[in-house]
Symmetry: C2
Subunit: 252 residues, 2 copies
């Protein structure tokens, strides 16, 4: 009964990894609501995992920023104000800008440039047709977008920077894909996605020409798309649920 019937990626993982994935899922899906104290025995009962691995998963999630420690012990689910989300996006843009600048200044190998170009081309191909944005096309865009940002991360060729970037992206609303579902429901969605990919293409150009300052500015501006989407969500709260981890957002 406690066996996970899903043949997902959690098959042969350690208990700690399972606990981490499950807890993150519970937090982002709102099964554990913002501000709520997390009871280790309850989670242990719910997941069928003993307290020890759950405990280390909790520590990891605290470092990740999804949990905050309680003075008297234990953790609670972190709540995020709109200002904090704005700042998290700004941080991501700044870090991606840094990665882009360093990559441009230091030079990116032709293989990596080719992979980046191919990625941008693929996204353009997905967006080429003027007909409506179907679910499969949208999913393809999401995958392409994630891949592009991953390739940029690799292009800077720096482990310490990658670590910091990963951390900046770890909050769901700060991730490059965080607000895409919000963007997709806008009437001019296809257009804004094309503009975003134009920025991708411009970045590859800048990397190739070793234009560090331009590369940095581009990625900063690129992240502002998420800021716009955040504002769009404010104007139309009905679409708030499209944001991953929406239940963590609290108005301040």
């Amino acid at each position: 009964m406690p066996e996970t019937p899903t043949p997902s990626s959690e098959e042969n993982a350690s208990q700690t990894v399972r606990a981490l994935l499950r807890l993150r899922e519970m937090i982002l899906d709102g099964e554990l609501s913002a501000g709520e104290r997390i009871s280790e025995p309850v989670v242990a009962e719910l997941t069928g995992i003993s307290r020890t691995p759950i405990r280390t998963a909790l520590v990891r999630l605290q470092e990740e920023g999804l949990l905050e420690p309680i003075r008297s012990g234990g953790f609670r689910v972190r709540a995020f104000s709109l200002d904090e989300i704005r700042d998290a996006i700004e941080i991501r843009g700044t870090m991606e800008g840094l990665a882009a600048r360093l990559a441009a200044e230091r030079g990116v190998s032709s293989e990596r440039l080719a992979r980046l170009t191919a990625c941008v081309d693929e996204i353009d191909a997905v967006l080429a047709d003027d007909s409506g944005l179907s679910d499969t096309r949208f999913a393809a865009y999401v995958a392409g977008n994630a891949r592009f940002h991953e390739l940029l991360e690799q292009a800077c060729d720096s482990d310490v920077l990658r670590r910091q970037l990963d951390r900046a992206k770890s909050l769901p609303f700060a991730s490059p894909n965080g607000f895409l579902r919000v963007q997709a429901v806008a009437p001019d969605a296809l257009n804004t996605l094309r503009i975003a990919n134009a920025q991708h293409r411009a970045l590859v150009e800048a990397l190739s020409a070793r234009e560090g300052s331009r590369a940095e500015a581009l990625m900063r501006e690129h992240a502002r798309i998420a800021q716009r989407n955040l504002h769009a969500t404010l104007a139309n709260p009905g679409i708030k649920a499209l944001i991953p981890g929406a239940s963590l957002i609290v108005d301040s």
Copy 2:
């Protein structure tokens, strides 16, 4: 016997905190050398703390970046190449630049500006005398410098940014005080410290005038002092030991 006779800050802390502090100390002091696998039973024996709190401290240190996981299990002490140190400093400068820009753009309260000004004044007072840089004067500079950077962190008034900044500063060589001892042994130490504080003062000016771009540029340039000190260390390996965590540095 296993009682810590030092009345330090570790008195009434939890075992986990004690393990964290002790392990960090052991790593930075080179008691555990770079690349070495950390044996939990050995550390437990050495510290008189059971494996459980040590284990969570290890997880924290991994998130902090001082340890890296071993595929087959456990952790090893991370080794840092000069390139990685350079990047860590660059990241710190970029994040402090972001904090400065946001603080300037959003405005800093007059009380905070006053505290920043007072801090800069105090540092200038420490550096006023042209006589040699005594140990006590140097210690006063270190304290003032740490305080200034802490005040900047507060000035941006953003928890998410603070968290990310703390992380950027957590590597010893990336910290604002990381290379100060290297700087202090240079013949023109007093001068370079004065220049550094001039940058501090300029930042307060920029914050006060809400000049975001200038504030950002200043903190980026400010971090480059550490880069210069890093290069100075390369030219004169005899002073390498002045860097905290020197044993973690490996030439690549």
